[in-house]
Amino acid sequence: MNNEVHFKVAIIGGGPAGIGAAVGLAKRGVGPVILIERRGEVGGTPMGYRKKPGGVPTFVEWTRGRVVFGEELAGRLTKRLAQTGTTIRLSTQVTKIYPAEKRLTLLGPEGLEDILVDAVVLAAGAREQTPAEKGWLAGARTARVGFTRHVTGWLDRHGLLPARKPIVVGSDLIAYSAAAKLCALGSDEPVMIDQRRSPEASFFERLFFRRWTRPDWSGGVSTVEIKGHGSPTHLESSNGREWQGDGVIICGQLVPNTELALMAGMAVDLPSRQLQLARGQTLSQPGWFAAGNVLGGFHGAQWCYFNGCSVARSVARFL
C-alpha cells in the first residue's frame, strides 16, 4: 500500500476500447502506460466468442468488410497491443478510484496495491440488464435464467447448451446472435419475445442471421412471469400468452460499467448509469476519460477500438 507506483496513464479494462487507447497513446509516444484487466486475458467481450466449425461469426470487422468470430478480431487487436510496450496487469481489478488524487486501488494475485497516474481511460465495457432491472419480468427465480454471456460461456468453452428450448428475451443484435448460436449448436428454434412491437435489430441484421435462426417472434408483450420450480417451464404474460421453454436468455439492453465512477462521486445519470461527458469524452473530473461500451448504448467492437484510439488523442492533449 505504501510505496505507490506512478504511471502517466492508466487504462481500466483490456477490451477493444482499452486496447485502442493503449495503441493510440503509444502512437503519440505517451508513457509509461498501464492497462489493467480483471480477467486472465485481454481482448474483452469478443474474446469469449470462440472460433468454431459450424459456429456463428457475430463481429463485424468493417475494415475488412467481413463478419468474423470475436476471438479472431480480439486476437488481431491483442497483437497490436503487444507491440506497444504497455504494462499489462492481468487478473487484476480496479476496485476503487479516487478522482481528485488520480489514484487507483488494484486487487490482484499480489494483493492490494495503489497506483498514482496523470490520466485515466475508463474502458470497462458494459453488461446486460438483469431480469429485475427490466421491470416487466418477474416470477420464479429458477436456474437457467441467464444472459448472452452465459450462452457463449457454456457453448464456446464447454460445448454445453444452456437451454434446449430457449426463450430469448430482447430483440437486438445481441439477442439475434444468441439465438443463432444456440440454434447452430443444436437447440430448438428459439422463441423470442420483447415489449417492442417489432424487433430492435435492423432488417439487414436479421437477414444476416436467417441462415441459422428464424426465431418464433412475439412482439408487444406486456408484463411477463417466469414459471417453474427449480428450472423454468414456461413464460406467461399478463394478457394470457404463454411460451414454453427450458431456459430464458436475457439479451442486450446494455448497462455501462460506470459504477467505479459513480461510487467515487463523478457525474453519472441515474437510473441509466450513463456517464455525463464533456468534450473529448471527458468525465466530470479533469484527466478522466471514457471509451467504448462504457459510454452507454451498443457499439460494435471495432468501433470501440477506434473510439479508444481517438480518446488517446484527447488524453495526449490533456497531458
Partner: protein
Amino acid sequence: MTQFGTWQPKIRGRLYYNWPRGTCEEALRFTGSEQLGLEPYDLVIIGAGVVGCGLAYQLSQYELRVLLVDRLHDVGEGTSKANSAIIHTGYDAKPGTLESELLQEARAAWPDLAARLKIPVDPIGGIMLAVTDEQERQLVAAEKNAHANHATDVRILSAAEIREREPNASPDVRGGLLVPGESLGDPFMASIAYAEVALANGVDILLGTGIAGVELGQAPGAPLHHLVTDDGHRLPARRIINAAGLGSRRLADGYGGGAFDINPRRGQFVLFDKCARSLVRHMLLPMPSAHTKGVLVSPTIFGNLLAGPTAEDLPLGDPEATHTTVEGIRRVMEGGSRLVDGLAQQPVIATYAGARCSCNQGSYVIRYNDGAPGVVTVTGVRSTGLTTSNSLARHLVDGMQKELGLELSSDTVALDARPESAWPGWWRRPFEDRPPDARADHGCAVCFCEVISEGEIRDALDSPIRPRTMDALKRRTRALMGRCQGFDCQVPLAELVSGHTGIGIEQLTNNGPGSELVAPGQAVRPEEVSA
C-alpha cells in the same frame, strides 16, 4: 494472522446429500439409513430453517444423538433465506405474548451470540416514520407499547429531528419513533453458523431428504417412532420436532397433531444497487397496520438498499408463494417511495420473495406430545424467527425437559462458538491485511461486483456444511449476488466448483437436482474439456 472464511473444525457429525450419483462426491452421498448408525436418534428435527438450525445448535451442547433433516439442499434455504434480515428489538410486539418475551430475551443475547458465532450484525437503528396526520397521532401509543416491551430507549422524534438524521426522508414525514436497537443481520449466516457448530459437535445433517410421514411407535411410555423419507428410507427417532415451517401442517396431519391452520403470506422485495446505500442512514420503517409491518426501506448488511416486503396471503401449497409479480414489485416501489425521496431513480439489481408461515392461532404455536408422545410441533414463526432463533431454541429445550422428560447432560467438549477465521470473507476482507503466507488465489477476483476471490470460493467449498450448489455458495461468499447477478461470473464460478470438487460441470445446480445450470442430460464432449 487470520485467514477469514477458512474455519475447518474437527467434525463429529455426519453430513449427507440425498442426491443422484455424480451430483456430489460419493463420500457425501446418502444411500441408506445405515450410514447414520444403528442407534435410534434421541431427537430428529425436521426442517433446517433458522428455527431448526438454532435448535440443533442448542441441543448440540448436550450428550444427545440428534439428526437435522431438510428436503432442500442447504441449511436455511426455505423462508429463512428470504426476509428483511432485521434483528428486531421487539419494540412493536404485543406485550405479554411469547413472541414479546422471546424478542426481549433475544435483544439482550444477540451481541454476544453474533460475536461468538461470527454472524455479521450491524446495529444501525431504525426510525418509524409517520407520513400522515393519523399516523402521527399513533406515535404516542407506539412509544408506550415499546416501553411496555422494555425498549426504554425508544422515543418520538419531530419532523425536523428526522430531517437532520435522514435528509432523503419523504417531505411528507410528520414525525417518527427512533428505535436505536434495531440491527441489520446476515440472514444466511445465522442458519449456517448454527448448523456448522452443531455438525462439529456431532449432530448429523441430512439434506435433500423430504420427510413424507411419521410411523408412530405403539409402545406405552416412550415409544420409538420412525420417519419415512420421500424415497422410502426409515429413520428411527425417540423424539421428533416438527420445525418444518410451511411444511409443518402436512407433517402434523401424519401424526395426528392438533388443530392449526397455516398459509404462506408472501413478502416481495426490491434490492437496489450499492450506489443507493447512501440514501438512508437508518432502517426506515412505516407505521404498521393490523395486518403487516408494511414496506420498509433499509440498508442491508451487505451494503445494498432494500425495500419491502408486501403481505399477500396465498393458499397453503401454492407453488408461487415465493414468486415475484410485476404488480407486487410496483407496490413495493410505491410503499418505499412514501418513506424515501428519490427511491424510484435508484438502479434495481434484483427482486425476490419470501413466504411467512402465517398461522390462524397466532405467532409461535408450540405443542408438546402433539398427537403422540415425544412429538413436538413448532409453527407459526411468522415474522421474527431470525431474531428469536436462539431464544426460541432455549425455550424449546426447557419445554422438552419439562414436557417430554428429556434428560440433559452437558457435552463437555462441545463448541459454542466459531473462531475468528469463520467470519465470511466479504465481511472481513481476506486480502486487506495480507498475512505473510497469503495465497495468490485470495487476490484473484472471480465475482467482480462483490470482489470475491477464487480462494474464498475454494474455502467455502471446504467449509463444514460442504456447500454443493451455486445458491449455497452464494449465501456463504456473496459471489453471484452483486449488481451483474452472475452475468460475468456464473460460468467461471461453475468451472471453479467443478475443478475443486470433481463434480461434472454439467451436473452443477442452482439449488439441487432439477435446477441444473445447463439443459440436463448432456454429456461434456471430451475435446471441449481439454480446450
